[in-house]
């Protein structure tokens, strides 16, 4: 395969990983990124976004030999640390099984590590400051422009893999060109604002580092994830409009009053709250779905370009990394028939992408509201008990999505819904796990329709 050139668009997280997979197969890879090199310019806008790596992501990182290096820059989080309005905290573990934790990592550090790794491969060429402005599949022609817009370049290419993110240039072309292209972009009525809890004077974490902190407030919430240098990246998810909304927070005084009222324990930890609030933009939360994902076996969308999702299941990057692993294995099976590779990828992957998109939207309600609901917590406890008593027969939905890469997202969703029916039946008239009718539980679990694992 070594003479075949593949153009990968986007040097965010997914693009470099895909480039590495392809390079390991012997392809010549051109990795094109519209922004300048973040290793020279610093992370854009000084924002220290972080994210959670879960099992699906680790599986891909391991396949390309990066698991150990990435582990060194990530922090295990064993559960949700829920902060109530009085500042009391309680830990809700993600799992009862040892080792089932998720890992916080800095998006910027991870990106740099992937870029550095990509550049170690002699058959990967990374080019920055090249924006794709069009792709013409009839002429196999990719048009690129530099940031100034002054220089335009046309490249002949037979195979393009577009990992160019939620606002993908290639997908935009498909919307304009491809007949009967199914497309949806759907925004939540919420925006997000990134804030920070810095390290203390001794450079130490000001809160428990091994947890994902949540301040659930029913209609909205704030969260915080630890960074290796002792800080937390904080994110407020809040309605754009209405009574409690960004539209009401127009002054420093209004911001101070709001935070003091609803997140009183966090305020003393956030010395730059008001500055950050007005310096940082309000981000949008979008779900993008589309089909088909490819044009005639010539260009394929992967990652956010194919399926942008909201962040509430921490599966944006993880699902993108899983895309790379799956595509890699389909190339092994069917290369050089790219039509079959891309068709099969779309057919197998699309239902799973749709499933995680929907579950991610649902999980917002779980995080901002349900985690304080006694009935929800009871069901969680009973779920753990079912998992313990009938291992393999019951796996909490969260665990299937986050810790079980062997279970496709669509199966996790379907099985999760059947399991939830069982939990509802078992918990309908009780208030503690001790009251569960375990004989009924067994009948329901073992008698349930066979579900895919």
């Amino acid at each position: 395969m070594s003479s075949e050139i593949i153009h990968v668009l986007g040097a965010g997280l997914v693009g470099p990983l895909m480039a590495i997979y392809l390079a390991r197969k012997g392809f010549q890879v051109n990795l094109l990124e519209r922004r300048p090199d973040m290793r020279q310019t610093g992370v854009s806008g000084g924002r220290s976004i972080n994210l959670a790596i879960t099992a699906r992501g680790w599986k891909s990182l391991e396949e390309v030999g990066l698991k150990e290096a990435v582990s060194a820059i990530s922090i295990p989080m064993k559960g949700r640390m829920v902060h109530d309005i009085e500042g009391n905290t309680s830990l809700q573990p993600y799992s009862q099984n040892p080792g089932e934790v998720i890992y916080a990592a800095s998006r910027g550090l991870l990106n740099i590590m992937l870029l550095n790794e990509a550049e170690k491969y002699p058959n990967i060429r990374v080019v920055f400051d090249r924006r794709c402005t069009s792709f013409d599949p009839d002429k196999n022609r990719l048009t690129l422009q530099d940031e100034t817009g002054e220089h335009t370049e046309e490249i002949e290419t037979k195979t393009v893999i577009a990992a160019d993110g939620a606002w993908s240039a290639v997908r935009k072309e498909m919307l304009a060109r491809v007949e009967n292209f199914n497309y949806s972009q759907s925004f939540l009525d919420y925006g997000y604002k990134e804030l920070v809890i810095p390290p203390d004077a001794q450079g130490q974490f000001q809160m428990e580092p091994h947890a994902l902190h949540i301040w659930p407030r029913k209609r909205y919430m704030m969260i915080a994830l630890p960074n290796t240098e002792g800080s937390f990246t904080v994110t407020l998810f809040y309605p754009y409009e209405g009574k409690d909304s960004f539209a009401q927070l127009r002054t420093r005084e209004a911001v101070a009053e709001f935070f003091n009222q609803v997140f009183p324990d966090a305020v003393p930890l956030m010395p730059t709250l008001q500055e950050d609030f007005f310096a940082n933009p309000t981000g949008a939360l979008v779900t993008v779905k589309c089909s088909p994902w490819h044009i005639d076996g010539k260009s394929l969308l992967i990652g956010d370009a194919a399926h942008a999702i909201v962040p509430f299941f921490a599966q944006g990057m993880n699902s993108g990394f899983e895309d790379c692993a799956m595509l890699n294995s389909l190339i092994t099976d069917s290369h050089p028939d790219w039509g079959t590779v891309f068709d099969t990828f779309t057919r197998l992957r699309k239902p799973n992408a749709d499933a995680i998109a929907d579950m991610a939207v649902e999980n917002f309600i779980e995080m901002r509201d349900s985690v304080t609901d006694p009935h929800f917590l009871l069901k969680k406890q009973v779920g753990f008990e079912l998992e313990k008593r009938w291992p393999g027969k019951f796996i909490p939905r969260y665990s299937m999505v986050v810790f079980r890469p062997d279970i496709p997202y669509a199966d996790a969703k379907q099985r999760g819904s059947l399991q939830d029916d069982i939990l509802e039946q078992l918990c309908a008239d009780i208030t503690s796990p001790e009251e569960v009718d375990w004989a009924l539980a067994e009948r329901l679990l073992l008698g349930a329709e066979p579900v895919p694992v």
Copy 2:
């Protein structure tokens, strides 16, 4: 209001009607159409598409004084004439109430009538061959181009109403410009092909004219609507791909064999079947949803531009005409505050547009499959009986959508779903209406949650 100029985009069916409503209020209206004048060029491509006018459409036509004139070019259809594979036919009436029928009309004739009417108003100026290429709401600037693309014109305008169809130029601008614009375009896996049953040698109809003919074949169907000059416009709705699909009908022989096999009674009536099949394009079936529908009270989408739907409930034009009536009445209430007019329109109308979009997709299954299902037919009969015994308490869903403009689409959908639950209960274990437990029916109907009418 007389000095205020409003630009209406699109001189299809909805644009001219909206222009007439506005002219009757005293506005100066510029009605801009990208195509040349169809009265001079003939209907595009020689296609004789027709459509069904139902009560929502008539209500608007009556308000602008066009009911009588349009009646003269339309043909009442009192039910579905179902053709089985042996050529046997049976009529399924749309309603049991006198006068509740739908009306077939030629799209071209209706369009010409609306254009002629619009031009009677001295304060409407109709300009053809003007394609909107952009609308800049910040500068209140509409850019227009003629068909050759050689002449570009910029117009200052404060108020644009875009009735420019399913592929609206203004909506395209909104997709590119408006932050957090929610948008979806969703295609059925089916295409449609228009064909024709001409009049016989004496110029007479070759089938019953006062019916909508259906050849339901489970996964697909063919329909026919009468035209005033004695012909029928025939439409085949058929999958694009797969075993039974357009992809398989590549030769005249294949087409002849297919039609002889599944529509044997229609073939002798269609002398130009094979020519038409290959001369006419295969059309797509798309549902478009979006929000918001307006930019800052400056431009508003109406009709297909705001909510393109599939044709299976015959509500595309009818819902567009209803848009015009509602917008007209909101202008009466709130003009000159266009922000309030457009906001209120979007808020009140969007849930109804979504409801008819979903019901139209559902109705495809009813037309191609359910109409041959004994259980479906039993429920229809029982529904008519419930309507007779408890008038006002039970109204068949079809009737609510098609004959009751006083019931918004969303209410029809919600109420239809509750009624369907009742019908399912009443018809679960019976095979004829005589077996219905009418005491149970009364309890269910009168005990049902209060539903909006």
